[in-house]
């Protein structure tokens, strides 16, 4: 085809969308929540499992989020729980994303057909199965009460099952992207220059694939946090007495009408975190589309 290529839009013509403001607000929210999660458990006068006052106390100056069913401080529990939840989610996703991206790229560039077919069937199988059900099944197999080193009960099982399932979606995403990159002229140029297949994969295909999967991963963090919270209601998440958003909301649900703060306030923090993550992820994905 003889066509004048679409030049990248000159800077002055790039649509000015919500992207920039959204990213600032999102990043602000996220940084705020993360800072609170780090510093509140360190600096707050009470520990998350300490019984500090009578139960069911409404929010006050000394207990900004009130106290829970056993008289623990909801404020410190919210952020201690947030620290654990976000750390588990971030770690699980970072590893899944790195693993999945590498597998997907390798599969896409592999010359052996059966490697691709086999891996894709496995991935399709994993993705076709409802995520929560699969996680639940794996947790039961690993054992929800298992403690491992510094990891409190419930967390090892969660991590293992998240990793076993999580990589699949990134592998599929990475494979699709790597396959379309394979058609690009610069990848052909690299092959014609005699570069090894490893070099072509790592230097010329992976950086672009990574951009896509990483942006997706940011959005995924909140999904995992929500799933973890949901698992608490099924008794399969982080085990009490360790603070965790899902566990806290679960415990507070019976007294929602009278002591709303036990459930609602951790929920609000969860929603704000989700909002921040979504805004940042959207602007990352949007920047990619506009950059083309």
């Amino acid at each position: 085809m003889e066509s004048v290529v679409d030049q990248p839009l000159p800077r002055w013509r790039r649509a000015r969308t919500f992207g920039h403001t959204g990213r600032v607000i999102g990043a602000g929210l996220l940084v705020g929540v993360v800072l609170l999660c780090v510093f509140v458990p360190l600096l707050w006068p009470y520990g998350p499992n300490e019984i500090v006052a009578p139960a069911y106390q409404a929010p006050s100056w000394s207990h900004p989020f009130g106290t829970d069913t056993t008289g623990r401080d909801v404020f410190v529990r919210t952020f201690a729980g947030g620290r654990l939840d976000l750390a588990v989610a971030a770690f699980a996703i970072a590893v899944s994303c790195a693993l999945g991206t590498a597998i997907g790229t390798a599969v896409a560039l592999s010359r052996r057909r059966w490697v691709d077919t086999l891996t894709m069937r496995l991935i399709d199988g994993l993705i076709a199965f409802p995520f929560v059900v699969l996680i639940l099944a794996l947790i039961v197999v690993v054992g929800p009460g298992l403690e491992l080193g510094p990891l409190p009960a419930g967390v090892p099982a969660l991590l293992v099952s998240l990793l076993l399932v999580g990589w699949a979606i990134y592998a599929r995403l990475g494979r699709a992207e790597a396959q379309s990159l394979r058609q690009r002229d610069y990848v052909l140029a690299a092959e014609l220059l005699g570069y090894s297949r490893a070099r072509v994969a790592v230097r010329h295909v992976l950086p672009e694939v990574w951009r896509i999967t990483a942006a997706y991963a940011v959005a995924d963090v909140i999904l995992v946090v929500v799933v973890m919270a949901g698992l608490a209601f099924l008794g399969a998440g982080v085990q009490p007495p360790t603070a965790d958003w899902g566990q806290m909301m679960y415990e507070g649900r019976t007294v929602l009408a009278t002591s709303w703060w036990i459930t609602v306030l951790p929920g609000v923090v969860l929603v704000l975190t989700g909002l921040g993550v979504t805004l940042v992820a959207d602007s990352l994905l949007g920047a990619r589309e506009r950059g083309k």
Binding site: P8, D185, A189, L192, G194, Y195, E208
Partner: protein, 254 residues
């Protein structure tokens, strides 16, 4: 290549490419390219000229016949063989031809280091020199492709191809995505490189004006077959095949 060794750089014999049973994108194409030659391949979209170009550079193995590079078929040439560097491709879309994450210096230095034992600093110096030869210098060398113009990207692509010291450049519509004033710069560069480095050029184009200006011999392709071949000047002055005549007549503004 010395006179005692009259082996051509590239020799395509009876090349056929078929993507689908019974349908031929290219069929029965022959071409020999010797050192310093300038050969044009003319045709419209769907004529098979780009497919043929890809077999010449070894990016695609023909389903029928073979292309030999310095006497060896591409099917036997591995990535590490010295023949691999003999032919390089210049692309139509200058942006998609470059890795968006690499600056011109990185792009060219990577190619240089792949074929020569140089440390990073030496390779970057050689890359800057090569980019200078293709007409790029200064802060342009440190920019990502998105911040370069189409013509500048095309120069980077040419420098990258030169980095492995090829004997043939195969340019697939190298200027059709560029503005007229940039087109003339790139054509001048290709002609100059051919003279200065003794490179052979294979120019694939739909633009007969470009082919007339750059090449000495040309093939006209239509529906996957070579319909006319000969010296460019005489052939365009007195086309024998009706298709060549039709192409020349529809050239606007001449």
């Amino acid at each position: 290549m010395s006179a005692a060794q009259p082996q051509p750089l590239l020799a395509a014999r009876d090349v056929g490419v078929s993507y689908e049973e019974g349908k031929w994108a290219v069929r029965g194409a022959d071409l020999e390219v010797a050192a310093g030659d300038a050969v044009g391949i003319v045709g419209e979209s769907g004529s098979g000229k780009s497919t043929f170009a890809r077999t010449l550079v070894g990016a695609l193995l023909p389903s029928e016949g073979a292309v030999e590079v310095q006497g060896r078929p591409w099917s036997e040439v591995s990535r590490k063989d010295p023949q691999r560097r003999c032919a390089q491709l210049i692309f139509q879309d200058p942006y998609s031809a470059l890795n968006p994450h690499q600056t011109p210096i990185q792009t060219v230095a990577e190619a240089i280091r792949h074929w020569r034992r140089l440390d990073r600093r030496e390779a970057e110096r050689a890359a800057a020199e090569l980019l200078g030869e293709t007409g790029l210098s200064g802060d342009l060398l440190q920019r990502r492709p998105a911040r370069l113009s189409g013509g500048q990207c095309q120069r980077v692509g040419i420098a990258r191809a030169l980095a492995c010291e090829p004997a043939v450049l195969i340019a697939d519509e190298p200027t059709s995505a560029l503005d007229a004033s940039v087109q003339s710069q790139i054509l001048n560069l290709l002609v100059e490189l051919r003279q200065r480095r003794g490179l052979a050029l294979v120019l694939i184009s739909h633009d007969l004006g470009v082919v007339r200006y750059v090449t000495e011999r040309a093939l006209v392709m239509c529906d996957g077959a070579v319909v006319e071949a000969g010296e460019t000047g005489p052939m365009f002055a007195a086309p024998r095949h009706p298709y060549t005549r039709a192409l020349l007549e529809s050239l606007p503004g001449v």
